[in-house]
Structures are given as C-alpha cells and as structure tokens.
C-alpha cells in the first residue's frame, strides 16, 4: 500500500515554502505545480471510488474510469484560472503544461514507490510513455484553449470538445496498455509520435500562415 497523501505532503512542502521566498511573480508557477499534484492525489481517490461503485474490473478501471476522472481533474485548476483571472493567451499554455507535468511527475513518483526503480527499461517506458501521454493531453488542451477562449461563442463547446479529445486520447493509450502483448508497445510510442506529428503540423501551419498573411476568416 502506498500512502500517497504522505508522499504529497513530502513533495508539496518544500514547494510551498519556496513559494514564500520566490516572490509574487512566481506564485502562478508554484500554484499550478501544487495544483497538478493535488489533482493527481484526488484523482486516485475518485478513481477508486468509481471503480468500487461500478464494481469495475482492471480493464474498465484503467481504460474507462481513469482517463475520464484524470482529464477532468487536470482541467479543473486551469478552468478556475481562466474563469477567475482571465489570463492572456500565452499564459494559458504555461498553466496547462505545468499542471500536466506535475500530475505526471507525482504519478510517476507513486508508481516508483510501489514498483521500485530497479529496471531502467521499465522506467524509460514509464517516463517516455505515460509521462509523455500526460504532456500530449496537456498540449491538446493548452493549444486548443488558447484558440477557443478568444471567441466567446466557442468557449463552452471548444472547452468541452478539447476535454473530450484529451479523455479519448488518454483512454486509447490506457486501452492499448491494458490489452498487453504487441499493442502496449504501440501505446508506448503513441505519445512521442503524436508529439512529433503535432510539431510538424504546427510548423506547416505557421509557415502557411506567413504565406497567407496570417488571416483568419469564416
């Protein structure tokens, strides 16, 4: 049994103390860092609750319950930030990615405590597979939120749509892992491949935008 709340206190403590010394300018970074780990902790409780409620087996819990709970929870601190502080677009992506990174880090720490860190191959897969998957989900949300929060008519459907896309990406990844055999290797490579494809598309989009003068119309 892993006492994740104790792990959380241990990691969040120094960050919280550092917040007071670093000054007001860095409050946001530390807030999202603690929020990311906090929602990871809460997600673990909620996942367990739903798994017990629906009497779910391992596959249902990992491929259906966990993606939905975790992605909704990850979006909560960002939504709070968007609704209360109404930040500039460039600040949104930083907030989303810090939440995603700290979420993935805390999850990895708990995983290491439970399974040990003896096998490097496992750790690499964990880091570049599951860790990267959280970053991809964060990137989907961050790039999308920057765009959709510029248009009032697109805010609700856009946010919900992005949440749906992040959940389904996470669910497909977990589904392939849960199946095992060769499909789990496809899953491990999926986040990094998606990152590369996303980067290429973004580059083409930007170069195309320069050619077109960066105009957007209906």
């Amino acid at each position: 049994m892993t006492y994740i709340e104790n792990v959380f206190v241990c990691i969040a403590g120094p960050i919280l103390l550092a917040t007071f010394f670093m000054g007001k300018k860095y409050y946001g970074v530390f807030y999202f860092c603690i929020a990311g780990m906090g929602v990871c902790l809460l997600s673990a409780y909620i996942n367990t609750f739903f798994a017990r409620l629906y009497d779910a087996d391992f596959i249902s819990a990992t491929a259906q319950i966990a993606p939905m709970v975790e992605e909704i929870m990850k979006l909560m601190p960002v939504l709070f930030y968007l609704l209360i502080f109404e930040p500039k677009p460039e600040k949104i992506s930083v907030a989303v990615l810090i939440v995603a990174i700290s979420f993935a880090t805390f999850e990895n720490i708990c995983y290491l405590i439970e399974n040990g860190a003896a096998q490097l191959s496992f750790i690499l897969v964990r880091g570049f597979g599951t860790g990267a998957m959280h970053i991809v989900c964060g990137a989907i949300a961050s790039y999308g939120l920057i765009y959709v929060w510029q248009y009032s008519w697109l805010k609700i459907s856009g946010t919900f749509g992005l949440l749906g896309a992040a959940i389904i990406f996470h669910a497909i990844y977990n589904l392939l892992i849960a199946h095992g055999s060769i499909t789990q290797y496809i899953a491990y490579s999926l986040p990094v491949l998606t990152m590369i494809i996303g980067k290429v598309i973004n580059r083409i989009y930007k170069s195309n935008g320069v050619k077109n003068g960066g105009t957007a119309n209906l």
Binding site: I59, W153, G161, G164, L175, L176
Partner: protein, 209 residues
Amino acid sequence: MIELLDNFSQLIVTLLATIGAGFLFFKNRGQAYLLLTCYFGTYTLGILYWTLHFYLFNYTPQVFYVSELAWISGSMFLLTLGYALSTPDERKFRHPAIWLVIIFCVPQLILYLSTGDILFNSLISGLAMAIGWNSARGLLYHKKQKHKQKSKEIFHTVVLLIIFLEHCLWTSSCFWVSDTYTNPYFWFDFLFTASLFALLPATKKAVEA
C-alpha cells in the same frame, strides 16, 4: 463481423473526412473548417476507441461511455458550426415548421430515457435537437429568400439528414434484432457514415457561398 465492418468503414470515412477538413483549414484558415475538423476529429477518436475496445476485448465499453463523450463533443462542434455559418437575420427567423424537429425528437428521447442512461441520452438528444432546430430554421430561411443560396440549403439538408439518421440509429439500437445484415441498425449506420462524408463538400460549398 458486421459490427466490425461497420465500425471500420465509419472509422476510415471519418478519418478521411478529418484529413480533408484539416487540409481545407490549412489552405483557407476558415473557422468553419476548424470546427468541421474538430467535429470529424472527435468523432474519429470516439469510433477509434469503440472499435479498438470491441476488436481487442470482444465487447463494448461497459462502465463509462468514453466514446459517447467524444460524440457529445463532436455534436457541440457541429452545433457551433451551424451557428457560425448562420446570419443574424437567419437567427431571428421563426417558422412553425421548425417545431417538427422537436415533435420528431421528443418521443424518441422518451424512449431512450426509458431504456438507457438518463444523463447521456438527455445530453446527446438535446444537442441533436438544437442542431436540428438550427438547420431546419436555416433551411426554411434560405428557401424563403428571393436570392436563394443553394449551397446553404444543401448544407442544412445534410445536417438534417445526419440528425434524422442518428435518431433512426439510436431507435433501432433499442430494438436490437441480431448481429447480422438483417439488423436495420447496420444499414442506418452505413447511411449515417455516407451522410457524414457528404458534410465535407456541403460545408465547403456553404463557406464559399
């Protein structure tokens, strides 16, 4: 077997439609194309998850309906697309025939609520009704205009067809016959797939108009 064929064909068609809509967005940078790409994209991800689950584990998801969430997101994008393509005059337009959408949808919603999940069915049916309402209003508005915009009429007709076939699909799933070709569900789903693909050229013409 038929279910896999149905799912795979829908996956390929929606994936091609996503690529097509994405290409149009890259070329023209229009918001309508972005919304269409998001609609097809979320739909593709939903059907991909559903097909993978069925293919890998031989049964459909049982606890949380992850795919349905993607389809709800897709419906929200389609609703936003319809709203983005409408004019302020069109939005103010009223006609009694628009109520036919509600008359068609509500009895079926009651059937879904009595047989399935209340929250999901209310959401997806509510969204379908809103999309149908918007398109019926748009179709009637453009039919009444002196200078008719045929392309907008085609767009709204395709959207109405999607909503109609979606309801046929949901209703037929409440009366499951068998996992063979004799089940009307699969025929509605094949037609639905074709209507989804028709949305791509229809939107392109409506945007260019």
